[in-house]
């Protein structure tokens, strides 16, 4: 059996054009995660998508309006601290949380686990 620790996975769906306090929202979210000591966060860009406004977000020759997904993994307690902060930063979008098992693999240079 995979003996990963119980953790939570947070998916945030938004689009690239969003701004928070003068900086791109996804960058602001990453900075906030870091400030809160969240273990890790990664931003992925989608090719095409649509959300609440039923407007299709896709790559356009001028400007970027592609969907973004931020993936965050941490302990449930940290996620519960993060979510209210995210809610305050996002005007729209989706935050989805699921229970996962996570294992961090770290080895030093000598190759020992």
């Amino acid at each position: 059996m995979f003996s990963g620790e119980a953790a939570q996975l947070v998916h945030i769906h938004l689009n690239e054009g969003r701004v928070f306090a003068g900086q791109p929202l996804h960058e602001a979210i990453l900075a906030r995660c870091r400030a809160l000591g969240i273990a890790g966060a990664t931003v992925f860009r989608g090719i095409e998508g649509f959300g609440e406004t039923a407007e299709v977000h896709r790559a356009r020759p001028l400007g970027h309006d592609q969907p973004l997904e931020i993936v965050i993994v941490d302990e449930a307690i940290r996620v519960s601290q993060l979510v209210p902060e995210l809610e305050g930063m996002m005007q729209s979008g989706v935050i989805a949380i699921s229970d996962v098992k996570a294992r961090r693999v770290t080895k030093d240079k000598s190759g020992q686990a």
Partner: protein, 241 residues
């Protein structure tokens, strides 16, 4: 191929300049019908016309560069039902007309033997979704780590894996980067997502773990719905660089 008897005839009227995702709409409709293996379709170019916009379109008048196009096809009622919703969505500006017709004769000596209609069969099962997060620059015996993992997963007959490259991120490579400020790095985050049965995922975890130096493996329980067409290869691989 069409058979003798009742059928439907669809006519789509569009202007030359109407676009569908930067492509000419008439061409997009034609390509779509071809893609859907509709028995046959013809595009005709009108000599002169006017429509809802009351512009006269003519090939002869110098000031009307926009012509009008007519795309026609004849198919069984069932096939027409299948393609109409997409055509409805595609034709943002124009007209779609449907009429009953009767095929008297449809012969093509060179037509390929008709393939039986194959529908995708949905198979629903409990599965696991594994995500492995690490950095793009990580290597394994000289190969890109993501490449090496995908190859290994293929060798293990894992149902599928997709490699994603992130725009930015932190943490996937362990504690060491945490103290630094967000920096634009050449080493972008990579995520591989894999969906397979719990047994196959359990089998893959130790193998992948042995290849990783600094990474995070995340497993979630999911309901997977798999669509496969009977008689086609089950395996698809998307290796994107």
């Amino acid at each position: 191929m069409l058979e003798k008897g009742p059928a439907k005839k669809v006519t789509v009227w569009v202007n030359e300049d109407t676009r569908h995702h930067h492509e000419k709409l008439w061409l997009a409709v034609f390509d779509y019908l071809r893609h859907k293996r509709i028995a046959g379709a013809s595009v005709t170019h009108t000599k002169m016309s006017f429509g809802a916009r009351k512009h006269v379109h003519s090939a002869d008048l110098p000031d009307t560069p926009e012509f009008s196009y007519r795309i026609e096809f004849i198919e069984t009622a069932e096939r027409v039902e299948e393609v109409l919703p997409t055509l409805y969505e595609m034709v943002g500006d124009g007209l779609i007309e449907l009429q009953d017709t009767t095929v008297i004769k449809a012969v093509n000596e060179h037509a390929p033997s008709p393939e039986p209609e194959k529908r995708a069969q949905p198979v629903r099962q409990k599965a696991q979704l594994m995500r492995v997060l690490f950095g793009e620059k990580d290597t394994w015996h000289g190969d890109r780590l993501y490449d090496a993992i995908v190859k290994r997963l293929r060798m293990m007959d894992i149902a599928g894996a997709t490699v994603w490259r992130g725009l930015m991120g932190y943490g996937a490579k362990g504690e060491t980067h945490r103290s630094r400020l967000l920096h634009i790095s050449e080493d972008l985050p990579i995520m591989i997502s894999v969906i397979d049965t719990p047994a196959k995922i359990e089998e893959a975890i130790p193998v992948i773990e042995g290849m990783l130096e600094n990474a995070l493996i995340v497993i979630s329980e999911v309901d997977a719905i798999r669509l496969t067409r009977p008689g086609t290869a089950q395996e698809t691989s998307h290796v994107q660089r």
